[in-house]
């Protein structure tokens, strides 16, 4: 019984696929419109992914300065350096002694004379800590800072590059933007498919009427239209995927050249499998939903007389 049911569904889905294939031009046009609408947010999502990949590569962008208490001996400071160096979330630790700090300050600030007038060194010793690349996101960085603040030797812990945080915040906003855009264009896809199915229902008015006359259930009449919506959505998704990949391939060369000017080996990669899966599933479901709404609204208006 179930087998027959599944077989029927396969038959109907192939039949509605056949209908679409027999009108290649109009099918292609509808799918292309859907594809363009879907390609826009997909492309932006991929671009954001790339931006985040670049920003992830900015190792050392976020360094943490750990100022030691005045009474920490140089020996203890070195031991601490080694201890921190061994931690898995830290890539590099540089120890700057009080003397070294004073020397650096003397050279860079131009207050040499004034410092000479002091009889003791007012500067604390300092550890400059670079988190590992994997742990450089805002949350992990904050966790590391909290951890460092717990150390008995620590006087003050400071995150240097605030703008990394700002960059992350910006990409987050951009991500929201892409989400909003995707929702709006998803709605557009819904309307496109709904309208296409509405026209299809009008074209097959006689067939629907006669089918009802001889005892077709609503589910039976609905089915081919739902499958048509599904196919439109799927085709649109495939077209969107092709368009985004084509754009990436077109842009890859110039982007590579630009990157090489900055001594970076950065290059574009085509849409990943996860994005493709989400795109195709989403577009098919949108197609199904669009035709479902359309069929629900327009099929009941056709009654035999």
């Amino acid at each position: 019984m179930l087998k027959i049911w599944v077989l029927r569904h396969i038959q109907v889905s192939l039949a509605s696929l056949g209908r679409l294939v027999r009108l290649p031009l109009s099918t292609l046009m509808t799918s292309a419109v859907i594809g363009i609408a879907l390609a826009l947010p997909t492309g932006m999502h991929v671009a954001l992914d790339h931006l985040q990949a670049i920003s992830g590569g900015w190792d050392g962008a976020a360094t943490i300065s750990l100022f030691l208490k005045q009474d920490v001996e140089a020996k203890a400071a070195e031991r601490l350096t080694e201890k921190l160096q061994a931690k898995s979330n830290i890539a590099e630790v540089e120890f700057i002694s009080r003397e070294a700090a004073l020397e650096e300050f003397r050279q860079l600030s131009g207050f040499g004379e004034a410092l000479d007038a002091l009889n003791s060194n007012p500067l604390p010793a300092l550890l400059v800590i670079k988190p590992t690349t994997e742990q450089s996101d805002p949350l992990s960085t904050q966790q590391l800072i909290d951890e460092l603040e717990q150390l008995s030797e620590a006087d003050l812990v400071q995150l240097d590059m605030q703008w990394v945080r700002r960059f992350h915040a910006l990409t987050e906003i951009a991500q929201r933007g892409v989400f909003v855009l995707a929702s709006l264009l998803g709605l557009a896809v819904l309307l496109i498919i709904g309208n296409t199915i509405r026209l299809e229902i009008q074209n097959r008015h006689a067939e629907i009427e006669i089918s009802k006359l001889i005892g077709a259930t609503d589910a039976f009449i609905r089915r081919p239209f739902l499958y048509a919506g599904f196919w439109y959505g799927l085709f649109g998704g495939v077209i969107a995927c092709l368009m985004v990949n084509l754009s990436i391939l077109t842009l890859d060369d110039p982007v590579g050249q630009l990157a090489s000017l900055y001594h970076s080996s950065f290059s574009l990669s085509i849409v990943d499998l996860q994005t493709v899966t989400v795109l195709l599933t989403g577009s098919s479901l949108l197609g199904l939903l669009g035709s479902w709404i359309s069929v629900g609204r327009h099929l009941s208006t056709i009654e035999p007389s």
Partner: protein
């Protein structure tokens, strides 16, 4: 098989299609329905096929009370009532075979059984050699026979026909009526609406006559 009990049908706008009609048709009867244009013949048939619902009274078909039948059960009711129309109502973008197969496909019948039954039905109406033709390439009489094959292919116990010979010459009309008599002989109940008094008066069957929506006569002879 069919039971009308004080049935009235008022169309939206206040026009009465039928008023207070009562009659009973037994299984395996062959009954003609006649009356002037606008008398309510089509309306009566539509109530039986649930293309319209009665405003008052009760319609029973095959023991089923149509007044209380919910909309979602209408398709299953229609599968047990074969309907034939003056304008055939065939799908012109499908072959004769596909047109006749439609009721079986709609009911979910398997492929092989469909082929067997469709050919049997086409054979009965003498169109077996036309199964691959498009309906518009056939003559009016042939198209009507395709419509008849479609109505009987699923072997419904009841067949309704609304002016099935309306556009046909007397010889073809006679042929169609002979077909109906054949179906009746194997136990199918038939209700046939027609203007063609001459034709039915020679057939010696029960005749229901409608006049302005009311049943004016019920018997072997017509009265208008």
């Amino acid at each position: 098989m069919i039971n009308f009990d004080n049935v009235s049908k008022r169309y939206p706008g206040g026009h009465d299609g039928l008023s207070n009609v009562s009659f009973h048709i037994k299984p395996a009867e062959m009954v003609f329905l006649t009356g002037h244009s606008g008398a309510g013949k089509s309306t009566l048939l539509k109530l039986i096929g649930l293309l319209e619902r009665a405003t008052r009274g009760q319609v029973l078909v095959g023991g089923r009370n149509l007044t209380q039948l919910p909309n979602r059960k209408i398709p299953y009711h229609r599968r047990e009532v074969g309907m034939i129309f003056q304008d055939h109502r065939l799908l012109n973008d499908r072959t004769v075979f596909d047109n006749v197969a439609l009721p079986l496909v709609v009911a979910g019948m398997g492929h092989k059984e469909v082929g067997r039954r469709v050919r049997a039905a086409l054979d009965k109406v003498g169109l077996l050699n036309k199964e691959k033709s498009a309906p518009i390439t056939l003559s009016g009489g042939e198209q009507q026979r395709v419509g008849i094959a479609r109505a009987v292919v699923s072997k419904p116990p009841l067949v309704l026909a609304d002016e099935p010979t309306g556009n046909l010459d007397p010889a073809l009309s006679k042929e169609i009526m002979t077909l109906f008599e054949n179906f009746n002989q194997v136990g199918v109940t038939l209700l046939i609406a027609t203007h063609d008094i001459e034709l039915i008066s020679r057939m010696n069957r029960r005749i229901l006559t409608l006049d302005k929506g009311q049943l004016s006569h019920d018997g072997l002879k017509h009265t208008w």
